[in-house]
């Protein structure tokens, strides 16, 4: 048995202030990220208690959930959205918090902005009133989604009360087949381990596939840890991490850089770490994945057959399948491939980064979105938008019939004008297929990789991107 420590333990122990009377740990959260939806009430509580923001230099704000992606002039046409933006602006000013406002050219989805500014760093603790905060774990940070009362706690003390998590190591080894992406890996993991499989755990992703992933691919994987029930997910920091961070605005530079990198490297889990659980995944078994239900674990290969309720192993599972199929209006026993779609959405904190748009642009050049399909592409940040536009990627999308929008959360959660109508079916690169998630109480979502969304947009139906784009070594089982 080894005495090694995991990154999670090292970072946790380094940030633990003391044990509270109920046995929880008072944990320092070095970096606090806020947005307009879950912070205004926290500032209200702070004011009610007569407290101040204790470390204003450690909270960073941006606006993402409610920002319209098709208008740029304030006031926005939705007065409620406008009020929320003004409230965040006022709170940032009143409490002296750095705010990546719409006018800065740096605004975007909070989980895109943090890494892109170099605020997200290895060995740190990060929290945000948003469950997809796990995204930042891609850098070897321990990052948690929190509620609004905890946002208040962080504003007031830069600490929060938390119980320590167990650590599950997930190895992905082998070679991913062509047309299979990081999104497929995480959808596969969630389908294997279930939507509640990760309760009580932080997920440590590793193995040769993850080691070879770019930072943006690692972010896609860590992002959906919460869909697997895990409150945090991370990848050990390595040269890929440091290369990504070098030169970013909030990272050390000059002589301090090398010393910082050595410090960061030491946070990686020791080779002799004993994990609470280990799961091994073979890359060859991961296919282009889609969901068929209303929970992110109700997913399979695009060549799968929609399950029959009888296939559920327990009465509860049978009922879940029945409920999902009724909502999704899908026929049991038929292939999911060929299911007509109405809307295609590429964006979100899961898949709204430069590499996502660049990859899709390679394949959609010269192709057209099918008649009757509304397709939108929404960059995750103003910087992502600019990088895409510099490369002409926006024009490729436009030429193919996509709307190219401004940065925001857009149709991932529909707190802005981008919403499904009625029971429209959306092929979506986002992270949740819950009932009503995309803005219509009867709207339907099929989660998939950006390239699979593009394939569905072009064919007008759920399709295997490997066939549509003639990817080599096409293995359609």
């Amino acid at each position: 048995m080894g005495n090694g420590k995991s990154l999670f333990e090292k970072v946790w122990d380094g940030h633990a202030v003391r044990e509270l009377s109920n046995g929880q740990t008072q944990l320092i959260i070095g970096t606090h990220l806020i947005h307009e939806v879950t912070s205004p009430q926290a500032f209200g509580m702070l004011r009610d208690l007569g407290l101040k923001v204790r470390f204003p230099e450690r909270t960073f704000a941006t606006v993402d959930h409610i920002v319209p992606t098709d208008e740029s002039k304030e006031p926005f046409s939705d007065p409620l959205a406008d009020a929320m933006i003004r409230e965040l602006r006022k709170n940032a000013e009143d409490f002296d918090i750095t705010y990546f406002d719409l006018s800065t050219g740096k605004q975007g989805i909070v989980h895109v902005v943090g890494p892109e500014q170099g605020i997200t760093q290895p060995g740190t603790t990060i929290a945000c009133g948003d469950s997809h905060t796990a995204t930042h774990g891609a850098f070897g940070a321990i990052a948690f989604g929190i509620g609004t009362t905890q946002v208040r706690d962080l504003l007031a003390t830069q600490t929060m009360a938390m119980s320590k998590l167990k650590v599950r190591r997930i190895n992905v080894d082998g070679q991913l087949p062509p047309g299979v992406y990081a999104k497929d890996v995480i959808l596969h993991i969630i389908a294997q381990l279930g939507a509640k499989g990760g309760i009580g755990y932080a997920y440590e992703y590793g193995g040769e596939v993850v080691d070879n992933f770019t930072m943006e691919e690692r972010m896609t994987v860590c992002n959906m840890s919460i869909e697997g029930g895990a409150r945090a997910g991370y990848v050990n920091p390595d040269d890929t991490t440091f290369e990504y961070l070098k030169g970013r605005p909030y990272c050390p530079s000059g002589d301090a850089w090398d010393a910082t990198v050595e410090k960061w490297r030491a946070f990686a889990s020791d080779p002799d770490t004993v994990y609470d659980d280990v799961v091994n995944i073979r890359a060859e078994e991961v296919a282009p994945s889609v969901t068929w239900g209303i929970s992110p674990d109700q997913g399979f290969s695009v060549n799968g057959t929609i399950p029959r309720p009888e296939e559920g192993e327990t009465p509860a599972e049978q009922e879940s399948i029945r409920e999902a199929l009724e909502y999704m209006k899908l026929t049991p026993g038929t292939p999911i491939k060929g299911t007509k779609i109405d809307v295609a959405f590429i964006g979100s904190c899961t898949n709204g980064r430069l590499s996502d748009f660049r990859e899709v642009a390679r394949f959609i050049k010269g192709r057209k979105v099918a008649d009757g399909v509304k397709a939108i592409a929404v960059p995750g940040s103003q910087i992502v938008a600019k990088l895409c536009e510099n490369e002409g990627i926006d024009q490729v999308f436009r030429d193919a019939g996509f709307d190219w929008r401004r940065a925001g959360c857009s149709m991932c959660l529909a707190m802005n004008p981008d919403k499904l109508i009625g029971d429209q079916l959306c092929a979506s690169s986002s992270n949740r297929n819950f009932k009503g998630r995309q803005g219509s109480p009867t709207g339907r979502t099929i989660l998939m990789s950006p390239l699979m969304v593009a394939a569905a947009a072009i064919k007008g139906e759920v399709s295997d991107a490997r066939e549509v784009f003639e990817l080599t070594a096409c293995a359609t089982a």
Binding site: G23, Q26, P40, A156, I199, G200, G436
Partner: protein, 199 residues
């Protein structure tokens, strides 16, 4: 800060069946366009309770037999998905004071505890028995005993699991941690410097 010691919650119950009930279902995102939590109670489970024209769908919370229930009985992985505290806030403001489920999603559980809403975990079989008893007699008094980790109803009872830290916070009236956290700010400041977060 003197908070109530939450040792038991007594009231009538309602069973909302199904597993993986997510926080979008508990409170749809469009109702979060607000800067306070006031008024959220009316939107609890809105899209599964209401047709698009605002009329009622068939749902346990719309059933007059379960009106005024204060104990919500649910399935597994209740509260999964978004971290929105709007979900427990809506549940509380609707009138619920305790939750019994097969399991809870983690962020949701923490949010509830911090608001003083006990979330206790029971087996699927025990929940079935309780749900049937409540269905047969909606006026049945249900007691969630946080201190003893038991649920009592009629002449029956079963054991529930409550994590020690949550149980302790609730029964000692320290479920809102802010006072505890503020106590050690000198240590926090020193550690923030040590870790390189602040100058």
């Amino acid at each position: 800060m003197a908070l109530d010691k939450i040792t038991t919650v007594q009231g009538t119950a309602v069973h909302v069946p199904g597993s993986d009930v997510d926080t979008d279902r508990i409170i749809p995102a469009r109702f979060m366009k607000c800067v306070t939590f006031d008024g959220l109670g009316g939107y609890l489970f809105y899209d599964v309770r209401k047709h698009e024209d605002g009329s009622d769908k068939e749902h346990p919370l719309n059933n007059p037999r379960f009106k005024n229930a204060t104990v919500l009985v649910a399935g597994s992985n209740f509260g999964c998905g978004s971290s929105r505290e709007h979900a427990p806030q809506a549940i509380y403001r609707y009138g619920f004071r305790a939750l019994i489920a097969e399991s809870f999603a983690e962020i949701f559980f923490g949010n509830c505890t911090t608001l003083g809403i006990p979330c206790v975990v029971a087996t699927g079989d025990d929940i079935k028995v309780l749900a049937a008893a409540v269905e047969a007699d909606p006026a049945l008094a249900v007691t969630v005993d946080v201190e003893q980790c038991r649920v009592f109803f009629g002449d029956q009872s079963f054991t529930v699991h409550v994590p020690d830290s949550a149980r302790d916070s609730l029964i000692s009236g320290r479920w809102d941690p802010i006072a505890d956290l503020l106590e050690s700010m000198d240590d926090v400041s020193a550690r923030m410097q040590e870790l390189g977060y602040s100058a």
